[in-house]
């Protein structure tokens, strides 16, 4: 079961456990909930499918939140964050209400679908807004625990589900970064599903590898506490350099260097598989190793 399937499996249970929760869908996920034996049943009245109307998807979530309910809002990343961005900004943020936005599709979970279904800009866009917690789980177990925590919280939370996962969960539940490996020549921060390939790509390099499944708020404290040489590489599964300003802020009083790795902004106009795109974008193991080795070699 991948992260998205875990979410669909979990959703009726979450609704059943807490009558404050309401799922709001724009078709995506609705059929899945109805046909796979996880019919929401007794909580069906709290599964609202507005059809393919994404402005309304977020507007309805804002209205539900204004009545004290907690909406869990779901569709693919570009249709959740980009298309209704003003609703995210105003109907949630400006109204000062909370919601859980859960995206599927990651940056390019369906490369055959092309640019329209790619969502690498989501976290960067949310960074222009105030008060968002952003989770990027790297494993279905992490997805479940982060979804549960988000459902029980009150604020604005974005959970970014991906088809790619690491072999094992790495994250604690406290939102802090985990130390996967200790070294002395720099720090590599792997976000969500990038952990396994980052560990493989840095095998034999004398670097600390940190793992983040929660990127906002950014855990500056762990970065600083584990810092050796002030050379930091970010390996993010979305738009590259999204968290570079966070590292700069965390190390404001330290002369440092940062390399941001992630999905480049250019439109490749290529189809193929996820593995094809990882390679094309330098985000497969050899690509990461090349970039990280070269960056560290430039040091001092």
């Amino acid at each position: 079961m991948d992260q998205r399937e875990r979410f669909y499996d979990l959703l009726p249970k979450l609704l059943g456990d807490d009558d404050r929760l309401v799922a709001v869908l724009a078709e995506i996920g609705a059929a899945y909930l109805n046909v796979t034996g996880i019919d929401p049943g007794p909580v069906a009245d709290r599964v609202i499918n507005v059809g393919i109307r994404e402005q309304l998807l977020v507007g309805v979530a804002g209205g539900l939140a204004l009545t004290g309910l907690r909406p869990i809002v779901h569709t693919f990343a570009p249709f959740l964050i980009e298309r209704p961005f003003e609703q995210v900004k105003l109907d949630l943020g400006h109204q000062d209400v909370g919601a859980v936005l859960v995206s599927a599709g990651g940056s390019y979970d369906w490369p055959e679908g092309g640019e329209t279904h790619m969502g690498p800009r989501d976290v960067a866009l949310l960074d222009t807004l105030d008060g968002w917690t952003v989770h990027v789980p790297g494993h279905p177990d992490e997805a479940e625990s982060l979804l549960r925590a988000a459902a029980h919280a009150d604020g604005r939370v974005y959970v970014r589900l991906s088809a790619d996962s690491n072999a094992h969960p790495h994250a604690g539940e406290d939102g802090r970064m985990a130390v996967l490996r200790r070294g002395s020549r720099g720090t590599v921060v792997a976000v969500g599903p990038m952990a396994d390939r980052t560990l493989a790509a840095t095998e034999g390099l004398d670097v600390t590898v940190l793992y983040a499944a929660t990127v906002r708020p950014f855990d500056a404290e762990t970065l600083r506490a584990t810092l050796t040489e002030p050379d930091v590489v970010l390996v993010e599964p979305y738009l590259r350099d999204t968290s570079t300003p966070e590292v700069d802020r965390a190390l404001q009083d330290v002369r440092h260097r940062v390399l941001g790795l992630g999905v480049g902004p250019s439109e490749l106009r290529r189809y193929g598989s996820r593995a094809d795109h990882d390679a094309l974008r330098g985000l497969d193991e050899p690509g990461l190793r090349r970039s990280i080795t070269s960056f560290l070699a430039e040091s001092g």
Binding site: G59, T67, L90
Partner: protein, 221 residues
């Protein structure tokens, strides 16, 4: 909040003057005045029903009614738009007592109202959610999404008021009401200055959402 003072309809122009400094108010500034007054004076049950001003632009009439009903003081009105005022040229729900939504950008209130009405229905409440829009605001496509869904969902707890002062530059051939009725709403077309007609239309209830198209003078009249 419990109203502490109660003023009447005839006091509203004076309250608006506290904000604008103008003794006279044009049709544009007062296009919403009668509908909002009738809502607060005769229709909405305090602490129960909710009023969402979607057309946040030109909120003086709204603030005047809130003041007349005791939610705001005359001092609040005098500060209108000032750096320390709670009253902006678009309302902010986090600043103004009695204001349910922050508005200003057009086309957001109806979606929020649909969510509010759904939330109230889920909680077994018979409360009404009333949202006020302008005829030009209705041009925003987001409204179409909300109109379609509210009709299909049979949101009987929802009333939309569209103030029609003919300010939509491309017009509404065939009228505004039919944009709603074709999607399953019931509709009333009324004189937006006739308080009894407004009251009758605003208290209509059924199994479907209801729209009241309140016709007032042209914006540029």
């Amino acid at each position: 909040m419990t109203p502490t003072t109660t003023l009447g309809y005839d006091d509203l122009p004076g309250l608006m003057t506290l904000m604008t400094g103008d003794e006279k108010h044009g049709a544009s500034a007062t296009s919403t005045l009668d509908a909002i007054w009738v809502l607060y004076d005769r229709v909405l049950r305090p602490g129960h029903d909710r009023f969402l001003l979607s057309k946040g632009h030109g909120p003086m009439a709204y603030y005047a009614v809130l003041a007349a009903k005791g939610h705001l003081t005359e001092d609040d009105l005098r500060g209108f738009g000032g750096p320390d005022s709670i009253l902006g040229h678009h309302p902010d729900r986090t600043l103004v007592p009695g204001v349910e939504i922050g508005a200003g950008s057009l086309g957001h209130g109806l979606g929020l109202a649909v969510g509010t009405a759904l939330g109230r229905r889920l909680r077994g409440s018979d409360a009404r959610t009333v949202v006020l829009l302008g005829d030009a605001e209705l041009e925003e496509g987001s409204n179409a999404e909300a109109i379609q869904y509210a009709g299909r969902a049979g949101l009987g707890g929802l009333t939309a008021v569209v103030i029609d002062n003919s300010s939509a530059s491309l017009g509404w051939p065939g009228g505004i009401a039919q944009r709603f009725t074709v999607e399953g709403w019931s509709a009333s077309d009324v004189d937006g200055r006739d308080h009894d007609a407004l009251e009758r239309a605003l208290t209509e209830r059924g199994d479907s959402p209801h729209v009241v198209v309140a016709h007032v003078e042209r914006k540029d009249s």
